[in-house]
Symmetry: C2
Subunit: 319 residues, 2 copies
Amino acid sequence: MTGPDLVAVLAARGRIAPYIHRTPVMTCRSLDEMAGARIFFKCENLQRTGSFKMRGASNAIFSLSDADAAFGVVTHSSGNHAAAVACAARQRGIPAWVVMPENSSRAKLAAVEGYGGYVTLCVPTLEARESTANKLVAGSGATLIHPYNDDRIVAGQGTAAVELLEEVPDLDVIIAPVSGGGLLSGTAIAAKSMRPKIRVMGAEPKNADDALRSLASGKIEPAAEGKTIADGLRATLCERTFEIIRERVDEIAPVTEEEILQAMRAVWERMKIIIEPSSAVAVAPLLTRRAQAEGLRVGVILSGGNLDLDHLPFGVATL
Amino acid sequence: MTGPDLVAVLAARGRIAPYIHRTPVMTCRSLDEMAGARIFFKCENLQRTGSFKMRGASNAIFSLSDADAAFGVVTHSSGNHAAAVACAARQRGIPAWVVMPENSSRAKLAAVEGYGGYVTLCVPTLEARESTANKLVAGSGATLIHPYNDDRIVAGQGTAAVELLEEVPDLDVIIAPVSGGGLLSGTAIAAKSMRPKIRVMGAEPKNADDALRSLASGKIEPAAEGKTIADGLRATLCERTFEIIRERVDEIAPVTEEEILQAMRAVWERMKIIIEPSSAVAVAPLLTRRAQAEGLRVGVILSGGNLDLDHLPFGVATL
């Protein structure tokens, strides 16, 4: 089997425990009724820095030797991974350089700077981000912390599923959103090891359904052209996560933009917690009942809760 | 001393335990830093029906004799108390008639009906609400469940503070919003009994500062003319709650509309939980540091999380 194993996930868990929150598992009768299932929500929106990314980033950064760590870390990201790397690096007491596109929102820049990261702006292309990050690495001796193409990251992300299954051992299904595949890979490794009969599902926007297409064709397909409100889910799988997912994930559920919004709204209204659209992607297959989970016990990883309150998809009469 | 005592609150707690959630106590480093204090948030926004009102309503309804209960209950309210009475009545298996103004929003009517309450519409004046409710009581033999002028309600609302102090016994200050005064009365009774040296603060919008004026003048002052976003806080004290608060509450903090919005936004952004403006009223005196709680351990009752996602105060560039 490709990728880190359960032992690596459990080692990650011990390593990162002092630096992350053990997030709560919440339930909600109203959503259970809508889904016809018993849902256990692992609330990574309540994680430090507001997303599960803190798990992988902490594991990668605290896996470094003291000698390597002293040179600091570099990453390129405009989202939750950037904030997580900055926060985890500060916990370790080392510098973090974060390459961000120059058109990043003020809020995203402020989040990284708020956690003590050094922002390096570049032109907004993937090539510029990678080359700027590589130049920083070459010049500084710092270590590049990739958001998902890294066993330490995958193992760290898997710790959320470990905690969930410890609290609710008898899950029939577990669902996580998929983008670059770090969270879904870690979730699948942990869940299939701890409970081999569990059904592992990924969920992604129909407008960014490269994981579904990749599993169908047997090779990594390019990103879709469509736009999605789930702006955290625009990355594509890498070889590492593709292999892990191909070996261990049972299916990928695509969801429409309207289904994402309805799921997000249902969680806000009924559970009174703030989740970002990417989290709602994993809820939508249950509320539409396309997950075929009626009567089952289902774990859902609510991946994060970061979004711009000045640009909410609510506040208008029609959804 | 006026009102129910700690024994009544503890009796309420046992009585309602099967019907309510024991809500979590949350903390947040970012908000602690803003306030310069250590804050423990009692999350009644995560309570059943989305507010603390479920506590008092359940206590009143489960205090009824079987003979009285069989005739059902009546209340008049357009807000959280209405939903709580409907839900608690359904738990007991008895009918609840809820008198609501005919201009109530569709969402509020749907909430009451969703919990199985029978909505009776009336013209939107306090007189019409009271006379309609009284007619229902006279005609049906049902019991009127007042939102705060009732010892059973006050005792029920005090159970939130009991749970908070059990979990965090060494609080220096406790803050709750004040409107009709049921929550603040119950909080003060519980807190001053369990921890006599604690400082008990009420918080209310400057635009609805009748509690502050009433304590200053020594008699119940009429509602202010101003409008406030904290639409749950427009009621005025009754004799019962006025006396309890006069005897036990140390101060009332008025907060501006902008301070309410900023506190609400801070909780949404940093804690990732949804609170309604009335809850934010109790957070604002800490974030502005006017509560003089620097260096102290402070409990805050987050009273509820119900608000209309189609009319949010965010989504615009300026607050």
